[in-house]
């Protein structure tokens, strides 16, 4: 199970690194290469976004990556095929990230089964509150996959506790209001938000949205178990090429 994998890892490391990638951006082949680079650089887990035409919670960088991937011909089937390839090739956990319409249209149960078959370990679906996701949560549980739920700074503690009852693997805590890719201030406020999250769940906490450099990650040590690197990798890759992703990630560790 995902949570025990993370706990194991955390025996050896202060904080784990989860990176994010949009499948098919710039192309499915490149996605494989980027993942390879990331694994080599030492990331602990990777969330792979299946591109969607309406990525409501993503900022401009990831939004455009979604669009480019779709323009380039990325399909759900293509993403599954790639997922299968990477889970075979690399020995870290991979998660799917997507908006609900992708599994819904595919057939939620069929989608989740497919994830299981391909050895994916969990999924993040930012527009699916548990109230709407009963079928999804049920199959995820049956197939021992981790539904990663989200806490935000506006989530009341009662709701955090409620969400935690459905969550498996870890909790994805978003660092601030807004969408992906904007600047986050790593301040005391963030610290107290995380300790609030801690009170609501015994699962490991991942913090995402706006992590850019080592200092950010150092700040998080002791406050969260996982640092999520999203937009920044895409920016680096766009500016300096796929190869440079490795150095960037190493610089964070």
């Amino acid at each position: 199970m995902l949570e025990s994998y993370l706990r194991d890892k955390l025996q050896k490391k202060d904080i784990l690194i989860m990176t994010h990638i949009v499948l098919g951006y710039p192309s499915l082949e490149d996605s494989f290469k980027i993942i390879e680079t990331m694994v080599k650089a030492g990331v602990d887990l990777i969330e792979m976004q299946v591109p969607f035409s309406e990525p409501i919670a993503d900022g401009p960088v990831i939004l455009r990556a979604n669009q480019q991937a779709l323009k380039g011909g990325a399909t759900v089937q293509g993403c599954f095929d790639l997922a299968e390839k990477v889970t075979r090739a690399f020995d870290i956990p991979f998660l799917i990230m997507s908006y609900f319409n992708i599994p819904y249209k595919y057939g939620t149960t069929r989608f989740v089964s497919n994830m299981a078959t391909r050895n994916l370990r969990g999924a993040i679906i930012p527009d699916l509150p548990p109230e709407e996701g009963q079928e999804y949560l049920k199959v995820m549980q049956t197939l021992h996959l981790a539904p990663i739920l989200i806490f935000s700074p506006t989530t009341p503690i009662e709701r955090m506790k409620y969400l935690a009852t459905f969550a498996r693997g870890f909790i994805y805590c978003i660092a601030r209001k807004g969408v992906t890719g904007e600047t986050t201030t790593f301040s005391e406020e963030l610290g107290s938000y995380l300790s609030q999250c801690r009170k609501a769940t015994s699962l490991p906490l991942a913090l995402g949205f706006g992590i850019k450099e080592k200092a950010d990650i150092d700040f998080l040590k002791g406050k969260a178990e996982i640092a999520v690197i999203g937009t920044q990798t895409i920016r680096i890759m766009e500016k300096k090429g796929i190869a440079s992703v490795e150095n960037f990630i190493r610089s964070l560790l």
Binding site: S53, E54, Y104, K105, I150, T154, T155, G178, V179
Partner: protein
Amino acid sequence: MINRGYYGEFGGAFIPEILFSTIEELVEAFQDARNDPTFWKEYTDIMSTFSCRPTPLTFAENLTKHFGGARIYIKREDLNHTGAHKVNNVMGQGLLVKRMGKSRVIAETGAGQHGVATATMAAKFGFRCTIYMGEVDVARQRPNVFWMERLGAEVIPVRDGTRILKDAINEAFRDWVTNMDDTHYVLGTACGPHPFPEMVSYFQSIIGKEAREQIFEREGKLPARVYACVGGGSNALGIFSGFFDDPVQLIGVEAGGKGLDTSRHAARLALNDSSIGVAHGYRTYFLQDEDGQMKETHSVAAGLDYVGVSPILASLRQKGRVRFEAITDKEVLEAFSLTVKMEGLVPALESAHAFAQAFKELPDISGDDMILINLSGRGDKDIFIVADAFADPKWQGFIQKKAEDYSA
């Protein structure tokens, strides 16, 4: 979120967790207002002093004679302040914004009508205002952009995605998840997450309430059929809701665009080109591919080319309570011209869809009956599109002369 806003299998609230409290606050504010016996009065008061409610019901004598059958009545939402039914919704939401103590509003807009209405409401209530509008729509609806800016709103052209209404909706959500503390998202139609479909329909129900009373007073009976165009569905639900419990046929008219056998249309409920999906916060029929990616849509009427449709309408179709039809761009322009020439009414191209469908059906309707068409907005805003459709050389000359002056 006890009542999650389902209509049959449609609706719901598929929202990022960060909006949970915001939506809850809105649901509460709306419920409070609805239960407050003074609220509807406050609403109708402002609608009758700031806009001109009740809007008139016009008997289309010449069209009736022309078709030689059922008597044609027209509900005149075009006479509203800002020129369309959109103002009904925004003024209502504006009152809720005041109740919630927020100071800023945002909105998406396609045709620009909802943007102008929201900017107007913001000016009236003293809210700051940002409008998101697809770049394609900015280009084809520039006059509305101009007025939004004069009204003090910031208009942000959305350059991502297909650069039309749906992309503006996404962008508005992105703003909202950032600024929800002081900001209310004034969704423009009966779509989106709960409580928007219910709330927008509630405010638009003023159309149907008035229309039913007016036509009954005038004719002593109810119309056989009621026609309304369907973009997101708000004007249609507004007028239909007055007749839900009556033996009245309700017909929603979608954009058939370049033709129903092409992919260049926006018919979600009239055809089988759509399928059920989840996007923009709710479940309904979307024009999407097998992977669930939203398709490009098309209509000569910018206000009708949305990929989704109100979950309430989706449910009413399933129940068989509302019938849906689609009208092509070409048919729309004919109905538009006929209506302008015969009645001196200038319908928005959106509204002209409803007229076109009604004209098609008139031969099948008994001469003893009446029909009611919702004239959801006026067509002034469409001058650039209509002039192009008619390839008016004098208009083109005028524009070219203007352009020369600007280059000088």
